[in-house]
């Protein structure tokens, strides 16, 4: 019985992990682009991006998932995206906005003198970004990134509102058979996964410890 439940929960956990990994793959670079937009010197673009980030960060992710899945059909009678794709799209947009704020904080916390030192040494803007700023930004954003990644693992549970069968859905399906413990057993999977993430971020922080 334990084995059966474990296998079925693992199947759901596979979906959870897929959602987690794919969200990161798309949201990490997209967030960087958004952060550049939100720091743009071109005011209309900056305001547009800031407004967008405000809407996405200021409204519940669950609502965004519902809107992206059902919205096109309800509003325009368009065919729907596949459930997983719709959920992923909502997650990518949502997390890219959170990441963009983390990037922005990291980039703006690098002292101006670092850019200026690069400039007077004749470096180009891309050289300054990639050779000087980037690593300092990465070091600064590791702790908030760690928090976001762990939150993301837990947020994937939301996708079940549009019937993407992740681990909590699988756990809950046992309640109907009168078994309550599989739902709580899912916690073990979350804890194990987040444990690995915690160790990974601890290692990364240590790795970056060589400079201050």
């Amino acid at each position: 019985m334990l084995l059966d439940v474990t296998l079925s929960l693992l199947e759901g956990f596979g979906v959870t992990v897929q959602m987690f990994v794919l969200t990161l793959v798309f949201a990490l670079p997209l967030g960087l682009i958004i952060s550049f937009g939100s720091m743009s010197r071109f005011a209309p673009l900056r305001r547009l991006i800031q407004g967008f980030v405000w809407i996405v960060r200021g409204s519940p992710l669950m609502l965004q998932v519902l809107i992206i899945f059902y919205g096109p059909g309800l509003l325009f009678g368009l065919p729907l995206l596949p459930r997983f794709t719709a959920a992923l799209l909502a997650f990518v947009i949502n997390y890219a906005c959170y990441f963009s704020e983390i990037y922005r904080g990291g980039i703006q916390s690098v002292p101006r003198g670092q850019y200026e030192a690069g400039q007077v040494l004749g470096m180009t803007k891309p050289q300054i970004f990639f050779k000087i700023t980037l690593l300092q930004v990465i070091k600064r954003i590791i702790p908030p990134m760690g928090n976001e990644w762990i939150t993301l693992v837990k947020d994937t549970a939301l996708v079940r509102v549009i019937s993407v069968y992740e681990i909590i859905w699988m756990g809950e399906s046992y309640i109907k058979k009168g078994m309550i413990w599989p739902l709580f057993y899912t916690m073990v999977f979350y804890l194990a996964f987040n444990g690995i993430l915690t160790i990974f971020f601890g290692w990364l922080e240590k790795k970056m410890d060589y400079f201050k």
Binding site: M62, L66, G73, F76, L80, I162, S163, Y165, I180
Partner: protein, 260 residues
């Protein structure tokens, strides 16, 4: 969480009503052209469920849905949905039909076009077996704390009686509320109570007492869908041919089937 969902639903509905306008062609033709009837349901024995270790949906509703698909000449695909979103799922064509022991409440009838009723059911009060004798009448229920599935027929009954309750997202969770002592009682379907509580089940210490009403199950389609007529015709023929009662006997629901 439930409030957000409800709000989202209302918002979507309002927006969609504004945006609609153009009416679609025949729903029946749409399904036939697609070649698949997508059935939205939940895990709800004995209407829709899976045998241990099997991946195939069975149950009275599942088997009849397959027969209906055969009658239409299309494949049947089952999608387990979030019950709260059933109306949105239908309207956005994520599914074509809600067929899952669905009680025909006023709310359901306003959100979708429904078939004629095919099965009888009722809402019953579930309490711990050792205190059951104190709660045999409707009057004795005041003072108990209740749980019920959000937006379900059971919740409607409690509201009609003026009793407060905790809304949970499935009937199974309502049972869990009582089993764990979080609530004194819950209101669920008679069919479900028969299958899930009492001796020999996972909830041997629970029992049901008062039946609050009697009600009917039906199948839900998109608003104005011509699949409703196709279904009613199919059901009458299947009943006359004896298929309905045969299938009902397999799952022990023959006493609830409505005569045609």
């Amino acid at each position: 969480m439930k409030k957000i969902l409800a709000l989202a639903l209302c918002l979507m509905m309002a927006l969609s009503l504004a945006a609609c306008g153009e009416s679609s062609d025949s729903d029946l033709a749409y399904v036939k052209e697609k070649g698949t009837l997508v059935v939205g349901m939940t895990d709800f024995a004995p209407m829709d469920y899976k045998e241990e270790g099997s991946d195939e949906w069975i149950g009275f509703d599942a088997d009849m849905a397959r027969a209906f698909g055969e009658d239409l000449g299309v494949d049947v695909e089952f999608v387990e949905i979030n019950w709260d979103n059933k109306a949105m799922e239908l309207q956005t064509k994520a599914i074509d039909v809600v067929w899952n022991g669905m009680t025909l409440t006023e709310e359901v009838k306003s959100l979708m076009s429904c078939s004629e009723p095919y099965c009888l059911n009722g809402q019953v009060v579930v309490v711990a077996a050792d205190v059951a004798d104190q709660y045999q009448t409707t009057e004795s229920l005041s003072g108990l704390s209740f749980a019920a599935e959000n937006g379900s027929a059971g919740a409607e009954q409690l509201e009609a009686l003026g009793l407060d309750y905790i809304a949970v997202d499935t009937q199974a969770k309502a049972l869990m509320e009582v089993a764990s002592g979080a609530s004194d009682a819950c209101v669920i379907d008679l069919l479900m109570a028969g299958a899930m509580i009492g001796e020999g089940t996972s909830y041997p210490d629970l029992t049901y007492t008062v039946q609050l009403n009697s009600e009917e199950y039906g199948v839900g389609f998109r608003q104005e869908s011509d699949l409703v007529d196709a279904f009613n015709t199919f059901w009458k023929e299947a009943y006359d041919a004896g298929t309905v009662m045969e299938t009902a006997k397999v799952y022990g629901v023959q006493e609830s089937i409505i005569e045609k």
